[in-house]
Symmetry: C2
């Protein structure tokens, strides 16, 4: 069976359909009105990176715990029932996002919240989750 394929710019019909090259029923005014209000790329990624950071149960537990008390890695591992390695990896992530700070005392490394803004964000989310 011979088949005939017509393309535009190397794209098949399907691909042309999937891209928004054939839309009639959209209100361009609305789109153009909203467009300038959209966040710029930098802000957008800062926002989503922040939420991604909070979007892990282990990291939430760590932040939650450190809100109560500064603790060393071993204590946190015991509290969360995880290996020190796993905890250490996550603390590194939180540290590089400046959410926690580390301080070495003797053989131990004690972690604490960098600032208490985290509490506010958590409380806000709690409110939302509570419906």
């Amino acid at each position: 069976m011979p088949s005939l394929t017509i393309c535009y710019n190397g794209l098949t019909f399907e691909q042309l359909f999937n891209y928004n090259l054939n839309m009639e029923n959209v209100d361009l005014d609305t789109v153009n009105k909203v467009k300038p209000k959209m966040p710029d790329t930098t802000l957008l990624y800062e926002l989503s990176d922040f939420f991604k950071l909070m979007g892990d149960s282990t990291r939430i537990q760590l932040l939650w715990a450190l809100e109560e008390n500064e603790m060393c890695v071993g204590e946190l591992a015991l509290l969360l029932n995880m290996t020190k390695s796993a905890v250490s990896h996550q603390l590194k992530t939180l540290r590089s996002a400046k959410l926690v700070k580390a301080q070495k005392r003797g053989k131990n490394v004690f972690y604490a919240l960098s600032d208490h803004h985290v509490r506010t964000v958590l409380e806000m989310a709690l409110e939302h989750v509570a419906e």
Copy 2:
């Protein structure tokens, strides 16, 4: 070279080390004091699921846009310069989390924020990101 491996409960030394079976230098009092304050599993996952949901730049853009105006899928796709398919998939995610609601009008499906709590959470995060 003959090697001697001694195990406990089928675990090697390495594994015993990695698990917290040999910790001396932790303050058990601290751990026991904090433990009852930790969130229960359900709340923990509700929180992290909520943050996960917000932790994607496409979804943030969708919510941000819908805060300005209700819009149909095609308009959102045009605004974000994405395929309708990709947008539809993400809207489905947001809808099943009850963050947006859909309403079919003619050939179009219009999406709007379910409640304006989202704005509060976004503003809170903006504040944090702004340092």
